[in-house]
């Protein structure tokens, strides 16, 4: 099969590798949509190799212990190699599993753990079935496109009537805008990048701001009757962004952090009685139905949010585009030339 690799001319390319093998409870999935996440930030690294942790595709072969999927099923591939046994895994919080498995060793395979490839392998319980009528590109938002944002909205119990401030309008932030709008919330956005502010506005954000403006705090407060947003999401991992969200948050408000920052002052957290949530992935055992509702009900917005699609051969071009910031979510189609 063909698989994307880091390194070489342009910083990324395609290699021919052996097809993955499966065993145990692993299934082999033919990848039709492989969304790009933050991999472009690592393109210059010395070590080359496969990459990618987001995918949607079709089950083409199943191991002897596979129970929950069948050949022909359309599925989204959840990230990570979790054990499936610990309390975190069995409650759907597998992303926090502390005893990961070694799929290549278990399956006797040389490949299959990187999603920007023609095939990938994953355990059956980490494959989420796609309802009829949802295309692969849309379904693949159940990875990082919507995943962390969806978790943030679930954790903060975002509902109609809330004003949600989203800081960072990259692919994850745009996902947060979309998921919040689906829940009937009013959305405000923050990003220095005009292209992405405009995209958020097209998705339905009520107002977007440039966080580099000197009076940014006043602008956000003015948009929330002086009270501040009910709920906020940081997708930037930038210290000043998180500090701004804490500064403008409404008293007893909630703030979800999707990216980590090294240091913030927690003073506003205490005196305003804020609640902070760390959000990585989402709980696919409890919330698959809600996630798929959100995807099906956001079809038009997802079409705006996914700004570019590339065949695997044009990976370098895709990375260049991501570096420029002039894009929303970018998807690789491994079977297209």
């Amino acid at each position: 099969m063909k698989q994307a690799v880091m390194g070489g001319p342009g910083g990324a390319g395609v290699e021919k590798v052996s097809d993955p093998r499966i065993a145990d409870n692993y299934a082999k999935v033919k990848v039709f949509s492989a969304p790009l996440c933050t991999e472009f930030k690592h393109r210059a690294r010395e070590k080359s190799g496969g990459f990618g942790h987001e995918a949607a595709g079709e089950v083409v072969e199943i191991g002897p212990k596979v129970r929950s999927v069948a050949v022909g099923d359309r599925v989204v591939v959840m990230p990570q190699n979790a054990c499936g046994i610990c309390p975190l895994c069995t409650s759907g919080e597998h992303i926090y599993c502390q005893s990961g498995r070694k799929p290549l060793k278990i399956c006797g395979s040389e490949t299959g753990c990187d999603t920007v490839a023609q095939y990938v392998i994953q355990q059956d319980w980490l494959l989420v079935k796609i309802p009829d009528g949802i295309p692969y590109d849309h379904a693949s938002m159940a990875c990082c496109g919507f995943g962390p944002a969806f978790n943030a909205m679930q954790s903060m119990e975002v509902t109609a009537g809330d004003t949600v401030l989203v800081s960072g309008l990259g692919p994850v932030g745009l996902g947060a805008v979309t998921v919040a709008l689906y829940r009937g919330a009013r959305v405000l956005g923050l990003d220095p990048n005009a292209y992405r502010r405009d995209l958020a506005k097209q998705l339905g954000a009520d107002a977007v701001f440039n966080p580099l403006d000197e009076d940014i705090k006043q602008q956000v407060l003015a948009a929330t009757k002086g009270l501040g947003p009910d709920k906020s999401v940081d997708s930037t991992g930038v210290q000043s962004s998180v500090q701004l969200l804490l500064a403008v948050a409404r008293r007893r408000g909630r703030v979800a952090l999707i990216q980590s920052v090294d240091s913030i002052s927690t003073q506003p957290v205490v005196w305003k009685g804020l609640r902070l949530y760390g959000c990585w992935h989402w709980n696919h055992l409890n919330d698959t139905e809600r996630m798929m509702h959100t995807i099906a009900g956001s079809a038009e917005r997802i079409d705006k949010m996914i700004t570019h699609r590339f065949p695997m051969e044009k990976l370098s071009e895709a990375f260049d585009l991501q570096v420029s910031g002039q894009c929303g979510k970018v998807i690789i189609h491994p079977w297209e030339a």
Binding site: E157, T159, A160, G161, Y182
Partner: protein, 346 residues
């Protein structure tokens, strides 16, 4: 001031009573909008009892929904003369655990406002003026009309509490039994939260209203395959959450059978009886039932925010206005069922 008295079966008259005077934390509100609720059944039956059976039995307690302007206060408090306010229903002690937690509707020591204030009238909303304790008045945001604000009473109140209690969101399919004013309010509240809505109703006039407000379908509860129709609309599962607004066995039965396993049912419609088979009806289905009357005072900002954002739909659900003098005509209209929410503008 002018107010209303029921004088027999389908018989009422406008009566003149002394206007109430403010005392302690009771203030006087000049009523600009008084929505009609279930009092038309009292008019129909010639019932002269008070609406609030648990409290004041005085017959002039007609009308429990209102919005208006504060015109007299006896002491400095939460409102001042000139404030535009929604008048919450009933009179409550303000001291018990229910009152203190915003659930005053469940207060077990309701005072009689007329005795408290030494007034002959002032408990009813179908009047030019009424009395109300200041803490039961909600300030109306600028730009919101009295008619819209008054929907914070029963127009949207029980439905709003149902949605809050069942945590209805865009991931739900809500089955609304009944398309009267309260059921139509439930359609507004549920669609506001992004939910898919299916209604049960038999009145063509109100079916049209429900569809206009955003219901996906209005089904006849008497159809033999109504449950199957609901399953077909919900991917074979049934509604995740339901609101029963009729109090009729026929509707309740469909609700209990067409709500999915682990689902929730909010019961708002009064007066009915329903034989519940505990095992098959609740235990094996994992249903949660909620009895819902009014809503929690602490949710007032959310309620006013919702009203501010669903104004267009409120204009759809409020189908008729009458001056106080024509309340009999309004009640007659309610008896025909050819209306949504009806508002008296004294």
């Amino acid at each position: 001031m002018k107010t209303v008295a029921i004088t027999g079966k389908q018989s009422c008259k406008i009566v003149e009573k002394p206007a109430p005077r403010a005392k302690d934390d009771y203030v006087v509100v000049k009523i600009h909008a008084a929505p009609l609720c279930t009092e038309y059944t009292d008019y129909r039956d010639g019932c002269t009892r008070a609406e609030f059976k648990r409290g004041d039995e005085s017959p002039d307690c007609l009308g429990h929904e209102a919005a208006g302007e504060v015109v007299e206060v006896a002491q400095p408090g939460r409102v001042k003369v000139g404030d535009r306010v929604v008048v919450m229903p009933g009179f409550w002690c303000g001291k018990c655990r229910f009152c203190l937690s915003g659930e005053y509707i469940h207060c077990q020591n309701p005072p009689n406002p007329l005795t408290q204030c030494g007034c002959e009238a002032g408990a009813a909303a179908y009047a030019e003026y009424c009395l109300k304790q200041d803490w039961l008045l909600l300030p109306i945001p600028d730009g919101m009309s009295y008619d819209h604000a008054a929907m914070a009473c029963c127009g949207l109140g029980p439905a709003f509490n149902s949605m809050q209690t069942m945590e209805v969101s865009g991931h739900d399919t809500v089955l609304v039994a009944g398309t009267g004013p309260v059921g139509l309010g439930a359609v507004i509240c549920a669609t506001y939260r992004g939910a898919q809505v299916i209604c049960l109703g038999r009145n063509p006039y109100r079916t049209k209203l429900a569809l206009k407000l955003g219901a996906e379908a209005v089904l006849d509860p008497q159809d033999k395959d109504v449950k199957q129709q609901i399953l077909d609309l919900t991917g074979g599962e049934g509604a995740s959450k339901s609101v029963e607004t009729t109090g009729h066995l026929l509707y309740m039965d469909v609700v209990m059978k067409a709500t999915r396993r682990m689902g929730q049912v909010a019961i708002v419609g009064e007066g009915g009886e329903y034989p519940l088979h505990i095992s098959d009806g609740m235990i094996r289905t994992g249903l949660q039932l909620h009895g819902i009357w009014h809503w929690n005072l602490g949710d007032a900002p959310d309620m006013m925010r919702m009203i501010g954002r669903v104004g267009g739909k409120l204009d759809t659900v409020i189908t008729h206005h009458f001056p106080l003098e024509q309340i009999e005509k309004a009640w007659q209209l309610q008896l025909t069922g050819q209306c949504g929410k009806v508002i008296i503008n004294p």
